[in-house]
Symmetry: C2
Subunit: 263 residues, 2 copies
DNA sequence: CTCTGAATTTCGTGC
DNA sequence: GCACGAAGTTCAGAG
């Protein structure tokens, strides 16, 4: 006998359902209104942009109201298979095996999950979504640098564009230094690597002027290989202290109210 | 009364536990041997490389045997918060509130989850891991191109290095064309964009020779902006058909046994 | 350890 | 829709 099924309630659980019971439940639950979890002994197959197969094992299936499908194995942080959203779902039982097919339109792909046993199915109906804020993003750091060039870059630069798409680039900051040189700044909130240098070099190269253009990479750190590439390209690096940047941002006038105030 | 708790079995479920019961269960279950799921009305807070807060709402917590922690909200594919692995876990109850803290050593970060209600807790003990294969990766495509330059690139190129780190680059393929020119090939299994062009340009520029070096970008497609950047840099683009590449790879001698054979 | 680049990357933003 | 770049990216492989 499967466990209690308070289907009328806000949430529910079915323990040890038969595959037929599981299929019935899933058909009713996967309607965009519930956060559903199913655990069982399953295999999977994906085909679309890539392709993969997994053999039978304990799996955890999550289906969210928005249509996201996530299949986890016992190890690792990332799912074995997933579908960020689905346009169509099929649930069926044949010869004692539960099969679920999740289709996505663009890109065209399909995830098939086959279960010989289902350990449990659990769900929450009409889940309530809390608010979410993140901070210490690259955007935050960019604003701090733009407003405090002297403190964070060690010189006065007048910035005239942020994140603006110029003819062939979209660098973080465009400005003019004390001697009238164009300065392009690329910002990373993590240690800068070669690709960050290449990114900056592209922006500097593509800037439409004959005059000299300075390129400054701003990050809390830089890898050795990135530094030598940077120097060979005549670009500059400025180390930035994240904590200092955020305290400047927080204290600075004109800074929008921050989630930092909550903590 | 909480639901059945077959704690001796391979899996189990507790429906509507009190926060005290939930804490007891979680303390016992989060020992690296179980795949645990808990749903409840919770808030979260993260601090480490970045920082975030979420307010109370329905959340789904997953703790895997390897120590991965994943917290999902009702929407979206990606978790609200996570910890790829944890070095230490604390579970406590205070004033009717369940608090879980997940610590990670490197990088130093902590995820705190606070629940006023727990809808259910479900678990699978000693979950069995199936095998997993993926194919149609960039590696597959690279091998196909390396073995079939005439069919896929339209010319004979003798490749002498794959994925080799040369003085300042690590391009996909290094070879020599019919006229003795060095050829550097960068491969993308998805549509190539500007960053792919910059990547290739870096490899070509850094190749230690005075002689002319050809750079060829191989991908199923290329964006317009990437194409014009590529042409302005004197680089080449070769469209490649993924299906053709994989059929060549599969039929070619010397190809390791593929998961394609399963389907 | 660090560094590099892939990923079914996903996700947001701007056009 | 396409294009570009951030992400608490994670992850694997090489050094």
């Amino acid at each position: 006998m499967p466990g209690e099924q308070q289907e009328g309630g806000r949430f529910g659980v079915a323990s040890s359902p038969t595959v037929e019971e599981a299929a019935d439940l899933l058909k009713r639950l996967i309607d965009g209104s519930s956060m559903v979890v199913a655990a069982g002994f399953c295999s999977s197959q994906y085909e679309g942009r890539g392709a993969s197969v997994s053999t039978e094992g304990d799996k955890l299936l999550i289906v969210k109201p928005g249509g996201a499908v996530i299949l986890h194995g016992p190890r690792g942080f990332r799912p074995l298979n997933w579908q960020p959203n689905t346009s169509h779902t099929e649930v069926s039982v044949e010869k004692g095996t539960l099969t679920m097919k999740f289709y996505r339109r663009t890109p065209r792909e399909v995830l098939t999950i086959t279960c010989s046993r289902v350990w449990y199915i659990a769900w929450v109906r009409f889940p309530e979504e809390g608010a979410f804020w993140m901070y210490m993003t690259e955007d935050d750091l960019r604003r701090a640098v733009a407003s405090n060039p002297r403190e964070l870059l060690g010189e006065d630069i007048r910035f005239f564009a942020e994140e603006k798409r110029t003819p062939t680039g979209k660098a973080d900051l465009y400005g003019v230094d004390g001697e009238g040189n164009i300065v392009i700044v690329e910002i990373k909130r993590v240690k800068a690597d070669e690709s960050a240098v290449r990114q900056l070099e592209g922006y500097v190269r593509d800037y439409p002027t004959q005059a000299r253009v300075r390129g400054i990479l701003v990050a809390p750190d830089i890898s050795d290989t990135a530094r030598s590439l940077l120097e060979s390209l005549g670009l500059e690096f400025r180390r930035v202290d994240l904590k200092k940047a955020y305290s400047l941002m927080k204290s600075g006038r004109g800074s929008r109210r921050s989630v930092l105030d909550f903590l």
